[in-house]
Symmetry: C2
Subunit: 341 residues, 2 copies
């Protein structure tokens, strides 16, 4: 602001050397005499000079800036992914910019344009399961972006997507969750999940059904509800399920798409006078910071989002074309109980 931008020329003339030499000490090359290096460094320090990363990007073709596309940061789940990615990026000397999901989803503004123009060194895209038609459109957008920069996916990445990725194995997770609940004696287990997903072998529905099959329980369509992922959605879905069924058919356990939906379910249960976990077990997913403070504390799945975000950055920067699977683990708190006969 105050002073004119000082450039490599200023440093060079102050130090009485050529810009090439300044550039050499800037990049720490070895073929500079110690005396010259010291002289130049002194001028750099004194004038508080910072080489312009813009100009650098101009020639070196690398900008040290990455992008990440997320559905919404307000959901702490995504905030965790972002944080993990951002911190790792910083460690590696990269800057991380956020782009909203609408970059891929709508025609509100040209998705590729903004991203492509930015000449990012890479892009992480956090994908959720989407309705099949949407899904296809997103895939096209992703392929498109890939022309401009390396792309790594994170989240619910369909098995069919041929991208480097840190993917959830939601199916395996669901299967384990069902197993956990059946081990507590539950036989009427509801699943309030997201959109009906495509025939992806990793999808939660598959895991849910497999889990039921493992326990030789019937798949009951009335126990499968759909929602978008907010607490309000969860509350509405559960209430509707309960009013549509005679109380003796009410589920004794409900698996929620995520912790937000689980929070809605707990609220709905409370409103209906159903005790959690005595009459209804609830299990969420994401292990949000607030889960320990709910009443009862919410049993959830820790999906290690920060770690996944960091890993995605590593894949991006290293250029490895690997598909990895994110870790997860059950965190028992107080919202699931043995079923009472």
């Amino acid at each position: 602001m105050s002073s004119e931008n000082i450039t490599i020329y200023d440093i060079a003339s102050d130090a009485g050397v050529s810009i090439a030499t300044v550039s050499r000490v800037l990049r720490g090359e070895s073929n500079v005499s110690e005396a010259t290096r010291k002289k130049v460094q002194e001028v750099i320090d004194r004038r508080n000079y910072r080489p312009s990363s813009i100009a650098r990007g101009m020639t070196s073709k690398t900008t040290y800036s990455l992008g990440i596309i997320l559905p919404k940061l307000l959901n702490p789940h995504y905030a965790m992914i972002f944080t993990g990615a951002q911190e790792e990026a910083r460690k590696l000397g990269y800057t991380m910019s956020l782009f909203p999901w609408s970059s891929l989803d709508t025609r509100e503004y040209d998705p590729a344009a903004m991203l492509a123009e930015r000449r990012l060194d890479g892009l992480i895209v956090c994908v959720e399961y989407l309705p099949p038609d949407h899904d296809e459109q997103v895939l096209t957008s992703l392929q498109d972006l890939r022309q401009y920069m390396p792309v790594v996916l994170i989240g619910c990445v369909p098995a069919s997507y041929d991208f480097p990725a840190v993917a959830n194995n939601s199916a395996a997770m669901m299967r384990e969750i069902v197993k956990y609940l059946t081990s507590l004696g539950h036989e009427r287990i509801a699943f309030i999940g997201g959109v009906e997903e495509d025939q992806d072998p990793l999808r939660r529905d598959v895991g849910y059904e497999n889990g039921l099959r493992d326990a030789r329980l019937p798949y009951i369509a009335s126990y499968r509800a759909y929602c978008r992922g907010t607490p309000g959605d969860g509350a509405a879905a559960l209430k509707e399920m309960l009013t549509s069924l005679k109380p003796e058919y009410w589920p004794t356990a409900v698996i929620a798409l995520n912790d937000l939906v689980a929070m809605g379910c707990m609220a709905a249960a409370r409103e209906k006078g159903i005790a959690v976990p005595e009459q209804l077990s609830v299990i969420g997913c994401d292990n949000l910071f607030c889960t320990p403070y709910l009443v009862p504390p919410l049993t959830s799945i820790n999906t290690h989002q920060q770690q996944a975000g960091a890993r995605a950055v590593q894949l991006l920067v290293s250029g490895e074309n690997k598909r990895e699977t994110a870790d997860w683990e059950l965190v028992e708190r107080g919202s699931c109980a043995r079923v009472r006969k």
Copy 2:
């Protein structure tokens, strides 16, 4: 990735015009004949050309990228500020990158360096109240950064800071909160807040004391606790306060630094068998998404963080050197009740 990067020269030669003309249609200048414009645009579309923002920044000195420095995104409070800022930035055609607070706070990596090199068009810094010594160091860093780019502050901006800002008037807010509680009959009102702040007229302590004075209540030091801002901190602080006092001196209401601290307080109260709100009213701040789902639902302050974030971006982009005050409002839920005599 796939193809060589295509440049303005490619378009120019394809369209049989000079690069200047291509540049003109790119920037929508008017002095291009309709025929030429169409011809060039067709080539641009066909080859799917995107001008490099790097090269643009090189000459035009503006990069259309902003930065924001936040303490931690995992606290939804900051996620909201970020979201508001990011969305506004996008609307205005800017990119938003996040930098961690440690940029200012530690010597872990050179703060100015990364930011200055990036040649951002502007920077938003979200400040919290800090211990006086820290505070001075941060101010120095801010002044430093200002040499390189415009800076707008947001949050708990000390009145003495001469920066454009969207500032909280925490003192006024606290005074109102105390008034609200005294109107419910409370006379023993605790405040579990952040670090003891410097003599800033906007600080919460001032508001707390003024509120007590308004109601002609004594300031009792035992009711003032300090914490860093996590639920655990809040729980610990309240527990310590309770154990240090005979039950007949226990506060009947507690004002928490933020909702996270309030959540900790509610947990501590529950653990101690103290009913909220019957025996203890709790009020938080930030109006986090989870507050309605706590038991009881937490009364809080909506500080309109997204709006504040957006406003900060507007100030930054417009270059206005204004200091504004953020709006706020009390959101009554169920954690505060009339005191029982």
